[in-house]
Point group: C2
Chain length 279, copies 2
């Protein structure tokens, strides 16, 4: 089952219009959310980020946050994913079908689609390479969760070909940005470093939560430009996103990385935060 423009429908009979600009031009945005036993983690921050992205792209969002919340709940129930330990929800918003050309249509008819899938446990650790592609520091869409993921797909494939799980992407200036699906954090002794939001990265919702939890634990946190040479000096790395939480990096470019003890502590604090917000 999926939810499409207000209706629950079987995936095999759901129809996307071949003129949809999401398909033809990558003209849209999305959010991916973690669901645990029917509870959607950080639903409001996700919807806020989606609404901000839609506003930046001038795509009308034709449903309220409350309406989309009910839609997600209906879909989880209909898919029998409201009782499972872990599931994922993806909410996609496109500018919808329109005549050919790049110009924005006068009367946009946006497409809103929600899909759900069962989700396994997050990986215990990740092996990374440094990818050859870079995030575009001069792209207005590099800071929003936009549909174009082709460069990330290619970097993920580069990682697989080199026997790794994911690739670190640098930005146009050569500073660390993120991986193909996650925010990145470095330990310098007991100090936590992560790329600044001034760079071409997503304002990660788990990233923000981890920073808040670290500060509450009196851990020093710096958001700044990070040169790739800092990776080799780091006392540990970990990745965050909504579906994996916080996962340590065990290997970088084939070299073993130490797993910093504070990563597990932050990960436990994040897990406790998720549990607390479920009650």
């Amino acid at each position: 089952m999926l939810w499409l423009n207000g209706q629950l429908i079987e995936e095999d009979s759901a129809r996307i219009d071949p003129r949809d600009r999401g398909l033809l031009l990558g003209d849209g945005v999305f959010e991916t959310m973690l669901v645990r036993q029917g509870h959607i983690a950080f639903f409001e921050p996700h919807l806020l980020r989606l609404a901000n992205a839609a506003h930046q792209l001038a795509i009308p969002l034709p449903f309220s946050t409350q309406g989309l919340g009910h839609a997600c709940e209906d879909l989880l129930k209909a898919s029998e994913l409201d009782k499972v330990d872990r599931a994922s929800l993806r909410l996609t918003l496109t500018r919808g079908p329109a005549p050919r050309g790049l110009a924005l249509p006068d009367d946009p008819r946006p497409t809103v689609m929600i899909t759900a899938a069962a989700l396994g446990s997050p990986p215990a650790s990740q092996r990374l390479i440094i990818g050859t592609a870079r995030r575009n520091s001069f792209s207005p869409s590099a800071r929003i969760k936009a549909l174009p993921y082709l460069d990330n797909i290619l970097a993920k494939e580069e990682a697989r070909a080199r026997d790794a799980d994911d690739a670190i992407l640098l930005d146009s200036q050569g500073y660390l940005a993120c991986t193909t699906i996650a925010s990145i954090f470095l330990w310098q002794k007991e100090r936590l470093l992560t790329p600044s939001l001034k760079g071409p990265i997503l304002p990660g919702i788990t990233r923000a939560a981890i920073i808040e939890l670290a500060l509450a634990l009196k851990i020093e946190v710096a958001e700044e430009e990070i040169a790739p040479s800092e990776l080799t000096h780091a006392d540990g790395l970990f990745l965050t996103n909504s579906l994996i939480g916080a996962v340590p990096v065990s290997q970088l470019e084939g070299w073993d990385m130490a797993i910093h003890p504070l990563t597990a502590r932050l990960s436990a604090a994040y897990e406790a935060l998720l549990l607390a917000t479920e009650r």
Copy 2:
């Protein structure tokens, strides 16, 4: 009418699978072709470029060039666009529907779609701005005609908001790349300059034809890195793509630009080439 995975079908009943990676991740490529009275201009170079792009992305192309040629002809006939003066064809190839995640599916089921539309006359001239976004010099997809066009859409909208037709995009290093839909050429007296294919630009089919025609006319042509300051010293600018041919730039950032007499000569030579290949 459109042609989808081997079948001619009404647009309103054609169905794209909501799991299509073209829609969800921008995972695909396309070609846009000019049709004049049923003749597709440069069909083979377009199909060769598509096949090269598909190969780079490891997307199988499930139809032969000949098969796709017949499909285009069938669609033009069924749409009654085989007799009109000008029409456009768009051939889209995506990696097709697949489970969630960036990893390439083991058994890709690519989507191939061809759409056709009537086309008006090309514009007599274009007014340009220099856009704020830049093409990504470090992107493996910047040199192929991939689905992600969101940054181009935003730059086109920036141009519209500033009362222009299109925006010039620089590359990551600040050199000229292209506009949102066209290759760019500069005149320095009777010498022709255009950004090198080493930069993050498409290998334009009209661009290549114009270079060949210029050389045949004994015009000196240089493909190189071009600083934006060269724009203000240029003795004329013009744009090329498959649908517009060669169109002069009449205004840049609100300033009137001289139209170089050799632009019309090249445009006429290009028109003659199109006519010759139709016979």
